[in-house]
């Protein structure tokens, strides 16, 4: 097993930075503020329509750098493999991880593998740390202003529902793909705007949770327009059947941006010009006139979106 892992990881992830014989390796980083983020991945099932835990780890980690206005350059990878995991599946997942990293010009600079006893592992867990450089202006929840526009780069909830369907717990089937992907093209296009305040990828807890974070940090209300929020039909159908709210479901390839209202249309056009942002929409605004996160319905009513009490879908990331 150990030899296989060494060969597998060395072959799939090789790059000039990775030295499997070194205790620590140097990183070449120039030209801006160094940014760090880290994430654990425990998704079940390990492979799902549109991705797997390997590609998800790369996208999830580099997306956290991207929405902070940084370009990702390096990953450190920890792998926890349960004894008895099928080798062919491990190979598919690590190949996918390597491919996703190469597509982003991100190098796996350091790695470690531990084997967990059978029955103590859930197959495979990954933990990835991402290092990048911030090139654009500083972004932050604290920069949000009354009247700022809120945009989302595409339909919400695809990842949450795709993973849930792949679990086959509810006897439902569908051909919905996870949205898991890099958001770097979207964030690169956005950081060029002087009026950009803040970006976040709405993962666990979804769009509504990002809005609550915005509300808590700014003290401003967040008013969303229900009819403006893009939700795919199959996502809405499953939500209707099972009583979920798509606004609380995880995305793994979307960006929520807060921007000066004077630049909202520019950002919307830029995003719509990218394949990753074809479904982008202006969905609401920050406002001092309400003190909650609210949803204006198609009929003109307004209801408060409460905070998520408990995650409806465990092990989605």
């Amino acid at each position: 097993m150990r030899e296989l892992i060494d060969n597998l990881f060395a072959r799939q992830l090789s790059n000039p930075s990775l030295d499997t014989r070194a205790d620590a390796v140097p990183l070449t980083l120039d030209g801006g503020e160094i940014m760090i983020t880290t994430d654990g991945f425990t998704v079940q099932p390990l492979e799902f329509p549109g991705g797997n835990i390997g590609s998800l780890a790369v996208h999830g980690t580099t997306n956290d750098l991207a929405v902070a206005g940084a370009i990702p350059y390096y990953l450190a990878l920890n792998v926890f493999i349960e004894e008895g995991m099928e080798v062919a599946q491990l190979e598919r997942i690590i190949a996918s991880l390597g491919e996703s990293a190469r597509a982003l010009n991100v190098r796996v600079a350091a790695g470690d593998t531990k084997v967990l006893r059978r029955g103590e592992g859930g197959g495979l867990y990954l933990a990835t740390t991402g290092i990048g450089i911030r090139h654009g202006p500083r972004l932050g929840l604290d920069l949000a202003r009354d009247g700022d526009a809120v945009l989302v780069s595409g339909p919400v909830g695809d990842h949450g529902i795709a993973v849930m369907l792949a679990r086959e717990e509810f006897g439902l089937q569908g051909n919905l793909l996870s949205d898991a992907a890099s958001v770097l093209p979207l964030t690169r296009a956005a950081v060029e705007l002087s009026g950009l305040r803040f970006m976040r990828d709405p993962t666990r807890g979804g769009l509504a949770t990002v809005c609550h974070e915005l509300h808590q940090a700014s003290g401003l209300g967040v008013q969303l327009q229900q009819t403006a929020i893009p939700v795919r039909d199959p996502v809405q159908s499953v939500c209707d059947m099972l009583g979920y709210d798509p606004l609380f479901l995880a995305c793994e390839g979307r960006v929520v941006a807060v921007v000066d209202p004077a630049q909202a249309d520019i950002l919307l056009q830029r995003w719509r010009g990218l394949p990753e942002g074809a479904g982008a929409a202006l969905i609401g605004c920050l406002t001092g006139s309400v003190r909650h996160v609210t949803l204006v319905t198609g009929l003109g009513g307004e209801r408060i979106l409460d905070e998520l009490e408990d995650d409806p879908l465990p092990r989605i990331c």
Copy 2:
């Protein structure tokens, strides 16, 4: 559980770099080559005489930076908690992790926590990435020369045996402490020497495995003097009883150094002047006259130390 974790981690690990609301945080790093390392921790039991999985994660990760000639500055922490883990134990471990990091002036800059379903976790797994700056000269296996001296900073095998005894599988008891600790004072003292070629902490696979890595990288033989290698009596006794070789047992607070023979005594005196290096010893040399890792016994015989085929003690780190 989520609130508890947020409170616990925020309280125990708080520092100016850690922003639990940010996707990625900036790192301030000046003055040298940036070094990265990463490590997973799955030790059982989670607490053992002389340490626990929390302090071990800090020491294990920062030690990999230290032996590469770097000063550690930041950690990124991933925590995988099995549902049902005793909260008081988690609190002890994270407190110990925070304390160990503060003692080294190392900041936990990024973190993530995932909860694993009961029966899929082994209690607690940690994954830590360390970032540091190399201040001394470049070190490497490739710098080793024929005639170089090999030193170890203290007795070997304490960690491996202490963890094994804590597992109580063999019905043995003892008051042996793990050697798990920071080696930074030792490596700081060593990097000042112009003749220092290479350092490594002999963790999994022990001293003998470091010697095999030296042999494979340099093509030179490694000749160790058995009587010179420090081994504590209780470690030797347990090894004698159970048929282990202390040279293959893990240490978590020792350094093996390869140095110009003209500076071997200087390094030895420096190490012996430190509390961490009181038991340091000159244990052998690199030589072109043999083509293996060999052990010269007390009676003057010489035997080949084979490579470790399989780790005798699972889950020690």
